[in-house]
Amino acid sequence: MTFLDIRGVSKSFGNVAAVSDVSLEIARGEFMTFLGPSGSGKSTTLYMIAGFFEPSGGDIRIEGRSILAEPSNRRNIGMVFQRYTLFPHLSVAENVAFPLRVRRRSGADVARKVEEMLALVRLERFADRMPAQLSGGQQQRVALARALSYDPPLLLMDEPLSALDKKLREEIQVEIRRIHRETGVTILYVTHDQEEALSLSDRVALFNHGRIEQVGKGRELYDEPHTRFVAGFVGHSNFLDCTIAARRDARADIVFPDGSGCADIPLHAAASSGSGARLMIRPDRLQIGALTATAARPGIDATLTDATFIGETFHFAVTTGWGAQINVRHPAGAPMAHEPVVGGRVRLSWHAADARLFAD
C-alpha cells in the first residue's frame, strides 16, 4: 500500500533542471534513502516534499491526497537538517516541546511527550541543558526527538550526520535504525555516502542528474546495477573497454582491445554488434591464478603491478596487455591458489554471472 507517492515531479531553477520527472512510491514504515552525488537532485526532491520548493510539474501525495497546496507548517512532516538547527535560546526539553506548544497541546500532554521523546533518544539527563552545551551528535539526537515529538507519519532527514566524525556517525546510524524500528515512522533519508545508504535503508533510490537511476534494496544496486553510473557509484568497480562482437537477447560476446575475448556476458541496455561497451567486475569477484590455469571460466591474462596488504584484505593492482588498470581484492584469510609475484604474469578470472556489460 503506497503511503507517499511522488508522481512525475520536476523542478527547474531558471533554465536549469534540478529534478526531472522523478516518480517513486514509498510504503508506510519504509526506510528509503535518496543517494547520489551533490547536485543530483536528491535534496531538491526532499525539499519539495517538505514544502520549501514548489515543483515545476508533477504531484506529491500522502495517502492519496496531494500535499502541494499545504504550506510547510501544515504538512505535519518531521525533519532533521544537515546543520544544527536547535533553537539556541531554548533548553533541550523546550526544543522538543516546541512543536507541541505551537500545536497548543496541554501542559501535561507536552511534559509526557517530551519525557517519552528524550527517553527515545536516550538524553533524559540532558533535558535542562542548552543546545550550546551539547556535542554535535547529541544536538542531532535532540533534533530527532523534536522532529518526532508530534508523531509525524513521515520523517525527512537531510544528510543529518554529515557534520559528525566517522565513529559518531556509525553510532548514531545504529540509533536511527533502532528508532525507526521502535516508532515505525516512514523515513526519507538523503545522503551522498553510499555506506550510510546501504547500512540504514530498506530501499535506496540512486539519483543522478536530477533523475532516479535505479531504485531497489542495497544488495540489488550492488549486485545488479542497471546502469554504468549505478555500478560506479555503489561499491568499487573495474570498468574495461571492449567491443561487442555478437549479441543474443540479453547476452553478448565481447572482444578486448588486444583481441582476446569473453563470451556470454549479461548485457543491460540496447547495444548492437560492433558498438563499444564496458565490462564491469567488482574487485572482490576477481580471482588471480597462474597463467596456465584452465580456461573454464572467463578471464584475461595480465601482469601484477602492485600488491598491498591492508589488514582484512589484499589489494592487487593488475595491468592488462593493453594497459588497463584493474583492482582486485582478496580476503587476507582466504586461501590463494597461486601466490602472485609483483611483475609476474597472472590469469584474472571471474564467474560469468559476476560480470556486467554496459553499452557506451
Binding site: A50, F52, S72, N73, R74, R75, N76, I77, G78, M79, F81, Q82, R83, Y84, T85, L86, F87, P88, H89, F98, P99, V102, R103, A143, R146, A147, Y150
Partner: protein, 266 residues
Amino acid sequence: MLLDFSRLGAWRVALSLIALLVGAYLLLPILLIVALSFGSSQWLQFPPPGWTLRWYEELVDDPEWIASFLTSFQIAAVVTVLSVLIGLMASFGLTRGTFRGREALRALFLTPMILPVVVLAVALYAFFLRLHLNGTFVGFVLAHLVIALPFSIIAISNALERFDRDIETAAIVCGASPLEAKIRVTLPGIRLGLVSAAIFSFLASWDEVVIAIFMASPDLQTLPVRIFGTLRQDLSPVIAAVSTALIALTAALMALAALLRKDARS
C-alpha cells in the same frame, strides 16, 4: 606574530606609556568636567577650592533643566522603539531579499552616517518648514530617526546574517507559521543585535546636538541644546553638572552594550 607584545622587551614600557598618554588625552576633558561639577568655585576654577553638591541641587530644582532632560529622554525613547522596529523590517529585506538594487538600497540606508550632520540638519529644517514640523516633538523624533536608523540596520543585519536561517525553517517545519517562527525563534536568536540596535539608537538621539539646534523651539529643547544655549549666556557650574549626568547615562549604556557583547561571546 611579528609584533608580539610579550617579545617587545624594553619597548613594552614605551608602548604602555604611549597607550596611557592617549587614554589620558581622551579621558581628561571628561574627568575635568566631572571634577568641576563637584567643585565649589562659581567660576569653574581648577583645581576646585572645595567640594559641593550645590550645582546638582540647583540642577534638580530648575524646572527648565528637568523639562529638557525629560524631552531628551522621551525623544530618545520613541526614536529607539521606532528605529528598532523599522531597522528590523529593513534588515529582513536587506539580508533575505533577493531583489535588484538591494546593495544600493543598503548603501542608501547608511548614508546618514557619512553625510555631514549640518547638511542633514539644514535639509531637514527646510523640509520640515513646509510640513510645520520644526519645533515639534514629532519633528524631533523624525529627524533623530534618520541618524539612528543606520545604527539599527547595521546591528540587526549583522545579527540576522549570523543567524542560521535553517533554524527558522526548522521552526516552520515543526508547525509554526512563518510569522510565529520569526517571533518565537528568530527574534530571540538575534536579541543581542536588537539590544545593541536599541542602545545605539538611543545614544544617537540622546547626545545629538546639531540637528536638535535646528529643530528646537523655546518650549521644546533637548538637553544638549539647553547646554549649548546656556553656555552662550553664562558659564555656570550647573552646566558641568548637567554634562556629568549626560556622560553618566551614556557611559552606563555603553557599559551595558559591552557587557552584552562579552556575554554573547562566552
